[in-house]
Symmetry: C2
Subunit: 405 residues, 2 copies
């Protein structure tokens, strides 16, 4: 029996959300900030570019001095200076004059355009032009990317590589981000052994959850430490109690099935509060969640596929939100290639292989069959108010890739 | 001027592919194999499950002994033993008998089904059943997930969390994978300075490429070390030569623009061979690639957005393939929300914001405007044979997310 009535998915998610916490904030060097979440608004310390900048190697000049120049009607100007990248010129460009300029160098006073080198020839300080440019051409205007004093990124923005570039250009060498949640994953089950090529003792099973759940935690922006506990009440109690002191989130696998001795959930009940035990989903019904020592604990099934789905549905959301990042399933519409029944009142997460147009569910998909997750790239979600779908129906699909950090 | 004629995108990609290398292979512990690429076929050492396994806590029995049992017509059996997880029973279940069994435990001889605990009551060794089960019910048959001796994953498979679980279950505690490519990123440009909140000296510009390109390399499964070189021939030569000894791939930023002094490409020409310099793409035309000391070198533009696009088009592909992973743009079709012109003979990678239905290009998108990458989540790709598209046209889109490792 479950220790509470079977919750609907929405009720269970609400209980999780009601106990949502944020991690604290840390300031880290910008070169470590990739894939972290901003915990401050970014207000630009500088314009970018900080000056009108040449976008080409060539000659800074007045655009109107080039008007009419062509291969057959070249014009000439006088070269009065040269500016390399990182340098600038104190001279001003007047009518009839030009300054040699490198890509990235500041446009000198008086000039308003850059003519590319390949449209010119030089002879000493005489420049001959075979093409014209309009004022502004090949010039990147000051502040075209970032304006000093402006808020350019908001708190809670996920930092991709491009945000990293923008933050650096705005003058930040450190940045405030949400700390990575520290997760303790406790594996229970006396039958579990480490992977081995050798003959396996009768009744023993290789523990694969430690690898999959660890990887999933890391795919949610968090760090993870793995522990093991035997199936007795005291062993599980000690492991959970210790974890609740040093970690932000506790996860267990095993011992959540209906009608089990239910050591894991009994321990949660003993040490703290059970939020729910048993949710009307498939796969993954035997899932528990609770609060121990003010920390959330997720009790996943020992069945590998059930545990993965439970993680995707409940734990990812919590870990994302803990770091200031929103989490919603990115649901897309696909056409069903096969029919499938479902039960009213239960939400199904059916492993499927989907492409840009179709979704086809994996046929052999017991909650212990890891192969069914390997063959899949998505879930078909059947709402609790639906009794399944027919071939050709437009259905809801979530790609695994869209769940990743 | 470019040091070679302007290559078409396809010609340039072919030159890269012709020089594609694989990294060597290493054997690593399975708990480090997440997001690596298999360099061996995985052949199962074990069946999984290794025995007919109980999927529930309850009673192992002969299904036919339960036929007809219900709340109003209960049946009774005799309990002859108990099996916990990790244990097994030497006893055989005969007609009229049952054995207490935990989830994950082996089904004892003679039994063919498990009746869940909640449909029973017990009094000493007398078991009363209020429900029936069919033979096979609540039993996970031996080898339903993995069959011993079968090839369950092929070489070159990308290891997601679910593959990790399958590999572990098959008995592997270590796995052969392609080594991560070691990339040296050399930043050139005398005008570049580190991010700072302080006033910036005239003509200096904050170097953001080191952060974005480093993050992109890491998003391609590789490791990266950053170096800096001044804009002189000798400084760049020394940096590239040294990198070519210790790294698998060399990347530079800066000094690739048309008509530049072109130190970087001159160095490549001096030390090795230029594959191409200048490709008919936008943004990103000033891109070079070459071979130095038998290592590939990518010469990216100093313009931030051009460098990112060049990385996406040329370097990701190389880094993915180096690790045995295929790389093709995952092109999806979307409806254009705005019209945009393009030039015949040039392939455009237009930053865009796309959703499930539409693509809208970013309006302000000079090759130095990082904001245009921040506002985007995708490229619209316009083939060299197209002159652009009209509002409402169905166009080719690649999501940034689909490019990630």
């Amino acid at each position: 029996m479950f220790l509470s009535k079977l919750d609907s998915l929405n009720d269970a998610l609400k209980l999780i959300d009601d106990n949502q916490k944020l991690t604290s904030i840390e300031e880290i060097p910008i070169n470590q900030a990739h894939k972290r979440v901003l915990a401050e608004d970014i207000i630009a310390y500088h314009n970018s570019p900080p000056f009108d900048k040449s976008a080409m190697d060539g000659f800074a000049l007045k655009g109107e001095n080039t008007f009419g120049a062509s291969q057959s009607m070249p014009k000439t100007l006088k070269i009065i200076d040269s500016i390399g990248a990182g340098d600038f010129s104190n001279k001003s460009v007047n009518d009839g004059e030009a300054i040699i300029i490198a890509t990235g160098a500041p446009i000198p006073d008086g000039a308003d355009a850059v003519l590319m080198k390949e449209f010119t020839t030089t002879d000493g300080d005489e420049l001959t032009l075979y093409s014209q440019v309009t004022p502004g051409e090949n010039v990147s205007p000051m502040a075209e990317d970032i304006e000093k004093g402006n808020t350019i990124l908001l708190k809670n923005t996920f930092i991709r590589y491009q945000e990293l570039g923008l933050i650096a250009s705005a003058g930040y060498d450190t940045v405030k981000v949400y700390k990575k949640p520290k997760v303790k994953l406790i594996i229970t089950g006396n039958e579990l052994i480490e992977p081995t090529k050798d003959e396996i003792d009768k009744a023993k099973i290789i523990n694969s959850n430690q690898f999959t759940i660890k990887a999933m935690v890391e795919d949610s922006g968090a760090t993870v430490e793995i522990g093991h506990a035997g199936d007795t009440f005291d062993e599980v109690k000690n492991a959970i109690l210790e974890a609740s002191r040093d970690f932000d989130v506790i996860m267990t696998t095993g011992g959540t099935a209906i009608s089990k001795g239910d050591v894991v959930l009994d321990v949660v009940d003993d040490l703290g509060d059970i939020l729910f035990h048993g949710v009307s989903i498939r796969p993954g019904k035997p899932i528990g969640a609770g609060i121990v020592n003010d920390k959330i604990i997720f009790n996943f099934s020992g069945q590998p596929v059930a545990a993965m789905s439970q993680f995707d549905i409940f734990a990812r959301r919590y870990l994302f939100k803990m770091q200031g990042r929103n989490f919603d399933f990115n649901i897309v519409k696909r056409e069903a290639l096969l029919k499938i029944p479902s039960q009213l009142g239960r939400t199904d997460f059916i492993r499927a292989f989907s492409d840009e147009k179709y979704a086809r569910h994996i046929l052999n998909r017991g909650s212990g069959i890891i192969r069914s997750m390997v063959d899949a790239n998505s879930y078909i979600i059947i709402d609790e108010n639906d009794e399944g779908y027919q071939k050709g129906d437009i259905i809801n699909v979530v790609f695994f890739n869209s769940l990743l950090w």
